[in-house]
């Protein structure tokens, strides 16, 4: 155990890994700062480049973008009240009022310290919790895996229950995309429409790159998201004295980091909920409640620690059960599977060095992103002035060439364009695109587990009711569906009774 940890430690500090995670963090901070892009676009654009790398280097690069994006998102939220990533909107509640009072340094110090603390706390929880969960999951068979995956997708769909029908439709569409091509188990052709190109199926990379890379940049072309480019900072680096002052709120920092990790652990909840929940808890427990919303560094710490704890939190179900908690970790799952590594409880036994490398890499990513922003605060803040439309056009062409390069197939680039159109339409309409991605990523896993479960039960799903873990998970699934729906119906009735 200790030996593997040390091997992982050394691997994390190898030159290639350090370069990879620093570059990933840099890209993450940049796309996080630019409103309208975000870590997802950064990850999918870099995805094609990772196929020539060993898995630990590839994952460090993408995790750098994942975590760095949340760091960067706080900058425009504090300076311009324009969140770089959606969850940073909570940071702007107190960050922007502080900027208006001429205390931008205090707000940024608190936000960045929150991001750093939340990130580190969540990695430490991940290091402790992942082996425990993996130990429990080691006794899982196909029926348990199937019910866990089923529970995961239900959680994601129910997170968008105001658009339940649309969520179900997109989940189904994602599942269906995963069935196109030659079936790996029976070698039968499915929905290839007589074409050779379709036999390889619809790869997850062009789908994700199309939906988010092309779709999001088409939106950026259409809408000028930045409202202002007026950035004012008193100095080019972060003020260290302000950092020390922000450390006064260490209890809020730790509490928010823990909240964010556990929110990230649940599929479908996302970083916005983590930010809101951490902020709300901090507000309720703070002796200076009245300052929240009018500009307090404590609010910035709480929201940023909450949202930056999500990436490591989402890694817990991904590494131990193979269930991604959100679209970003779904892309990471894709990287694992493309490299022939299948996350699950055995991963910690089979690939202990890789997992240890990931833990230390995540810690280093937090250090790298934090250090970059401390030293180059003003240059990074100036990135918001780069025209979004210019970037969008460049990202499109890089995405297209990148996607072609993965398999040297123009068909994949065509799929990415088609998915880009679909992504653009869905994103503009505000449909829950994340359910579509979850469907694509989990489709093959769920199909295989379903087949194995049915084989064990000789064609009957009653086997699920003979296994205690499955029964518990099914009860949880039913409650996940029923409780919010009943509560929503009650609220709707109550509102209907109220006089207009």
């Amino acid at each position: 155990m200790f030996e593997h940890m040390m091997d992982g430690f050394y691997a994390a500090f190898s030159l290639a890994n350090l370069v990879s995670l620093v570059f990933g963090s840099f890209v993450g901070v940049v796309v996080g700062i630019l409103p309208g892009l975000g870590p997802m676009v950064g990850m999918v654009v870099l995805l094609p480049f990772t196929f020539s790398f060993p898995p630990d280097i590839a994952l460090s690069l993408l995790l750098g973008v994942f975590c760095g994006g949340y760091f960067g998102g706080a900058i425009p939220a504090v300076l311009l009240r324009t969140p770089g990533v959606p969850s940073s909107i909570v940071t702007s509640f107190d960050g922007y009022p502080l900027t208006q009072k001429g205390q931008a340094q205090a707000a940024l110090s608190a936000a960045l310290l929150g991001s750093f603390g939340g990130g580190v706390i969540s990695v430490l929880i991940l290091m402790f919790l992942a082996p425990v969960l993996a130990h429990v999951a080691a006794s899982f068979g196909p029926p348990e895996y199937f019910t866990v995956a089923f529970f995961g997708v239900v959680l994601v769909v129910m997170a968008f229950r105001s658009q339940l029908g649309r969520g179900i439709m997109l989940l189904g569409l994602g599942f269906w995309f995963s069935t196109v091509g030659i079936d790996g188990t029976t070698l039968s052709e499915r929905y290839v429409f007589g074409t050779l190109a379709m036999q390889n199926g619809l790869d997850i990379v062009p789908i994700c790159l199309g939906l988010f890379g092309i779709g999001q940049t088409l939106i950026l072309v259409e809408q000028n998201i930045m409202k202002t480019d007026h950035v004012h900072l008193s100095r080019s680096t972060l003020d260290f004295s302000q950092l020390w002052q922000a450390l006064r709120y260490w209890k809020t920092l730790i509490r928010s980091g823990v909240i964010g990790t556990f929110v990230g652990l649940l599929p479908g909840t996302g970083s916005i909920l983590a930010s809101f929940l951490s902020y709300d808890t901090a507000k309720r427990l703070s002796p200076e409640k009245e300052r929240f919303g009018h500009g307090t560094p404590e609010g910035c710490i709480a929201s940023e620690a909450g949202n930056n704890a999500v990436p490591a939190g989402a890694m817990i179900p991904l590494l131990t059960l193979g269930i991604p908690g959100d679209a970003l970790s779904a892309v990471l799952l894709g990287v694992f599977t493309i490299n022939g590594i299948y996350p699950g409880p055995l991963l910690l036994v089979k690939e202990p060095v890789l997992i240890s490398t990931l833990y230390f890499s995540m810690l280093l990513i937090n250090v790298a992103a934090f250090a970059m922003l401390i030293i180059w605060l003003r240059p990074f803040a100036m990135i918001v002035k780069v025209p979004g439309r210019l970037l969008a056009v460049v990202i499109m062409v890089v995405s297209m060439v990148g996607i072609y390069a993965v398999n040297t197939r123009l068909f994949d680039a065509g799929v990415a364009v088609a998915m880009g159109v679909l992504g653009y339409v869905l994103l503009r309409m505000g449909w829950p695109v994340v359910t579509l991605v979850m469907g694509v990523v989990l489709g093959e896993i769920m199909e295989n587990r379903l087949r194995q479960t049915l084989s064990l039960g000789e064609g009957s799903l009653m086997i699920l009711f003979q296994r205690p873990i499955c029964v518990v998970l099914l009860v949880l699934t039913v409650l996940t569906i029923a409780v919010p729906l009943i509560r929503d119906t009650r609220n709707a009735r109550k509102n209907a009774r109220l006089p207009a």
Partner: protein, 162 residues
């Protein structure tokens, strides 16, 4: 006042199109999926696609109903205008893919970026010359030189060399 997405006929139309598409695939699935293998149905290749298409169909039912009985719903996307600029850039992107085959990576990238930058209003002379040149050089160096990715010989060159 902007209507909610639930009151939008555009949203319902998309939901209905997905639902009808799923229904068509559901009906045609026995012919579109090779089921000649020896596996029983529960281990075979058809079960999961039927479930997925059933999910799409089930999810689209409310949209289908609302499309038929619109009530106070009206045609509405998101209130942010027609996607004219995005459509133009998209056409350029499709032409860029064709251009990769006909003219090769370098010329296609240069032309796409110059035209697309003009379309999105980033049309200062410096941007329209420098950005395409810089990006083309970077892409060529990374993909062709460093990663050694194979690109098809441009049809134009084949035409003149044959």
């Amino acid at each position: 006042m902007t209507p909610k997405p639930l009151n939008s006929r555009t949203h319902d139309l998309l939901g209905s199109v997905l639902g009808i598409g799923a229904l068509a695939l559901l009906v045609l699935s026995p012919w579109l999926v090779d089921t000649t293998g020896p596996d029983p149905f529960y281990k075979g290749p058809l079960l999961f696609p039927l479930i997925t298409l059933g999910l799409i169909l089930a999810g689209s039912v409310p949209s289908l109903f609302r499309l038929v009985r619109p009530g106070d719903a009206r045609w509405y996307l998101d209130g942010l205008g027609r996607p004219v600029r995005a459509a133009r850039v998209l056409v350029c992107l499709v032409l860029f893919l064709g251009g990769l085959v006909v003219f090769g990576l370098e010329i296609s990238t240069l032309v796409f970026l110059a035209v697309a930058l003009k379309l999105v209003g980033q049309d200062s002379r410096a941007k329209m010359v420098l950005v395409p040149l810089l990006v083309t050089v970077i892409l060529t160096v990374i993909f062709k030189q460093l990663l050694g990715v194979w690109f098809p010989e441009p049809l134009v060159i084949s035409f003149f060399t044959e």
